[in-house]
């Protein structure tokens, strides 16, 4: 039984891998603390049970000890705080100085709209290149010719940064891909950017992580990282343009009855 992180214990994004490292670091610190504290507690309890004296030890405390056990935990906590600031800043604060990570407008893959109780996805027309965020904003504002639609299945880049915008059609939802260690709440009225780089190919579970009603548990989706996203979107577009007569270009015959929503 696999009790550890899903995805065979290894996240599929660099951010995820750093999160896992941080998790294990904290686990180490916490385990030491727990053993230490519980050890001390057990010891004092055991000694106390054996205490044959008439009275207990009349002590109101020790100033030195107070100082020690204030400074040491403070130091450990400060270390944890500083260590993880970096991870957060690089991966979630978009205007971070380090321009080697973080999204560019050209990384835009899709707009994902969460609604009760599914994920509605819209890709820009295959071949569209965005160079400014203003263009992205204009594209997000309304439907455009050539947009490709999908539901519950999202294709993203493999080994290349993916940028998606998350919207909500009705109430709050949250876009949670456990294998990628990505989570972002979808706020009605907002378009929120999420970016990540998937460096393991495969299909990853997508699920909702904010109570959105009775079907909160039904929102089962899938994120698939593919080498050639362009080609995959072209396939989807061909399926979407199927008129019942002309076989869609790159899709094998027989698959054409698969309607897109």
């Amino acid at each position: 039984m696999d009790w550890a992180f899903p995805g065979n214990r290894e996240a599929a994004t660099p951010l995820g891998q750093r999160i896992d490292d941080l998790f294990f670091l904290i686990t180490g610190i916490v385990t030491v603390t727990f053993i230490g504290t519980m050890g001390a507690l057990s010891y004092v309890l055991w000694k106390g049970s054996k205490n044959e004296d008439e009275k207990g030890w009349y002590s109101h405390g020790s100033h030195n000890l107070e100082v020690i056990w204030t400074i040491v935990p403070a130091g450990v906590l400060l270390f944890i705080a500083l260590y993880q600031l970096d991870v957060w800043a690089i991966y979630r604060v978009r205007d971070h100085e380090n321009r080697d990570v973080g999204p560019r407008p050209s990384h835009l893959v899709a707009e994902v709209t969460a609604r009760q109780f599914e994920w509605r996805i819209r890709y820009p027309a295959p071949g569209t290149k965005f160079t400014t965020y203003k263009q992205i904003k204009a594209w997000l504002a309304k439907p455009h010719a050539g947009d490709v639609y999908a539901v519950n299945k999202l294709f993203v880049h493999l080994n290349r940064e993916t940028l998606i915008y998350l919207k909500s059609a009705d109430v709050q939802h949250a876009f949670f891909v456990p294998d990628l260690r990505v989570k972002q709440d979808a706020m009605p009225g907002q378009s929120i950017d999420i970016w990540f780089t998937v460096n393991k190919s495969g299909k990853f579970n997508l699920t909702c992580a904010e109570l959105c009603g009775w079907g909160h548990y039904k929102m089962r989706g899938e994120v698939e990282a593919v080498e050639d996203l362009e080609a995959r979107l072209k396939e989807l577009k061909d399926l979407q343009d199927y008129d019942g007569v002309t076989p869609p270009g790159t899709v094998p015959a027989g698959a054409s009855e698969e309607a897109t929503p």
Partner: protein, 504 residues
């Protein structure tokens, strides 16, 4: 259509019981059965008994051979038998749980038994105890029937029941809360056998593919979510169970129609000649009516899956240019096809027909309030074509099918007699409405109605700041040559084409 004789034979064939150990739910009767009970309890009892006999209860389903349902059948042979434990060789892969699946032992007179478990490693099939059951001899062929129906029922109870109800009547606990807004579609009541979004011609039922598509893709804009990632076997099982519930409901309805003369009158009194009617309808001709109903239902469902009954265009989609769209627009507002009377001049679903009082097709009486209604007498609105939400699918083929065959059980009619080219023009126009607008100016350019600030532009242009992202291919920018003859010429300057909207 098989003869009555063979139908009656079918009735006797294969009523097998397929059970489940959990879930306490029961099928509910149609609302009219309670009324029938007050005048003729014999009729009501015969009705419910026959449903029970041929469909069973949720915990003990019956696999009735008259129905075109894949109950799930696995053939095999008995190799050796020790009491109730049979060592068998089965064709095909049985599922792991064969608990309460029906087993037919093809002895001289076929025996109906029930499986209690199956061990794939030892290939031991254990039957449940049955009194006075003869011993099973090696070499007896056997058939396991019903595992697919059973799986479908289990999956239905997990995923579907809370909206669609145990009986498939669209009245599950959640459905009672979905009624909030009057135009919110309720979960489908299967019992009429009608499904809205189909690929079949007018007058035909929904095919298995249609039901699969609905479950997998969901219905955009409604509470029917997409179960895209469901296992294909599970999907098939659910679809079979939905058909099972639909057929059960239909047979109940048809039997009620047959027994309609026995229902109380509007004053609540029993009908005259109750006794003789009762004898005639509820006793003498009842089984015949059941056979007729079954064969009709079977025929309907079988023909829906026949490839020749699908709507498939013969011509490819015409190129999606402004010319074609303009033609589509003209057809849209023409009196011949008159889409606008329901969908509105601007395609917003606010056409003039909504203000008229419609007639109830079953009773031929007027509905109390104006507006359109579906076959379940619920108010519905014509689709707002500007929204970009297409419940039946957004492919050109899907929209073509809507235009050709309409939407079953709704006032959306089919226009199969309109030439295919015209239908493609309409498809091109409809698909362009959310993106480019529903209206055309006198130069033939499309624009949005309402408060879109670009409505007053009559030439395409480029603003450097809002230069759109590079597109692979842009629309042709040339103006169309022909002008519409009977089109109300909305000046592009007006942002509110009120005159168009008010036109009836």
């Amino acid at each position: 259509m098989t003869t009555r004789h063979s139908i009656l034979r079918l009735l006797a064939l294969l009523p097998l019981v397929v059970g489940c150990a959990d879930y306490q739910a029961e099928f509910v009767n149609d609302e009219r059965v309670a009324a029938l009970e007050t005048t003729s309890s014999v009729a009501a009892t015969n009705l419910t008994n026959s449903l029970n006999t041929h469909f069973g209860t949720p915990n003990a389903l019956v696999a009735w051979g008259a129905l075109p349902i894949e109950f799930g059948e696995i053939s095999g042979t008995v190799l050796s038998a020790t009491g109730n434990s049979l060592r068998v060789s089965l064709e095909g892969d049985p599922p792991t749980a064969l608990n309460h699946v029906a087993v037919v032992l093809e002895t001289k007179t076929p025996q109906n038994r029930m499986a209690s478990s199956y061990d794939a490693d030892t290939r031991i099939l254990t039957l449940t105890e049955q009194e006075a059951a003869p011993a099973v001899t090696p070499g007896t062929p056997l058939r396991l029937i019903g595992h697919k129906l059973q799986a479908g029922r289990r999956l239905y109870m997990q995923h579907c029941m809370h909206c669609h109800g145990v009986t498939g009547d669209g009245n599950g606990p959640t459905a009672r809360y979905i009624r909030n807004h009057r135009f919110n579609p309720l979960p489908r009541d299967y019992r009429r056998g009608l499904f809205k979004f189909t690929s079949t011609k007018n007058g035909f039922y929904a095919s298995r593919d249609d039901l699969r598509r609905t479950v997998r893709q969901g219905l955009a804009g409604t509470y029917m979510p997409s179960f895209l990632l469901i296992d294909p076997d599970e999907l098939d099982a659910i679809v079979e169970f939905v058909r099972f519930l639909a057929m059960r409901g239909e047979i109940e309805r048809r039997l009620l129609t047959h027994l309609a003369p026995l229902m109380p009158t509007d004053d609540g009194d029993p009908p005259k000649d109750l006794q003789s009617l009762e004898k005639e309808l509820a006793v003498d001709t009842f089984n015949e009516a059941l056979a007729d109903a079954a064969s009709l239902v079977a025929e309907n469902w079988t023909s829906a899956d026949a490839p020749e009954n699908l709507v498939i265009p013969t011509t490819a989609r015409l190129p999606d240019d402004e010319k074609s769209r303009l033609k589509g627009r003209n057809l849209f507002i023409s009196t011949k096809i008159n889409c606008a009377k329901c969908h509105g001049e601007g395609g917003r679903g606010n056409g003039g027909f909504l203000k008229d009082i419609q007639k109830n097709p079953e009773t031929q009486q007027n509905y109390p309030t104006p507006g359109l209604r579906d076959a379940w007498h619920k108010m519905i609105q014509p689709r707002n074509l500007t929204s970009g939400i297409y419940r039946g699918g957004r492919r050109p083929l899907d929209v073509f099918r809507r235009v050709t065959a309409g939407i079953k059980a709704t006032p959306m009619a089919g226009f199969a007699t309109v030439p295919e080219t015209d239908r493609w023009h309409i498809v091109n126009y409809v698909l362009s409405i959310p993106i480019d607008g529903a209206f055309f100016d006198e130069h033939g350019h499309q624009y949005h109605g309402g408060d879109d600030s670009h409505a007053d532009h009559d030439h395409p242009h480029d603003h450097e700041a809002d230069k759109p992202a590079d597109k692979p291919a842009d629309k042709p920018a040339d103006k169309p040559a022909d002008k519409p003859a009977d089109k109300p010429a909305d000046k592009p300057e007006t942002t509110q084409p009120k005159s168009a909207k008010d036109k009836k």
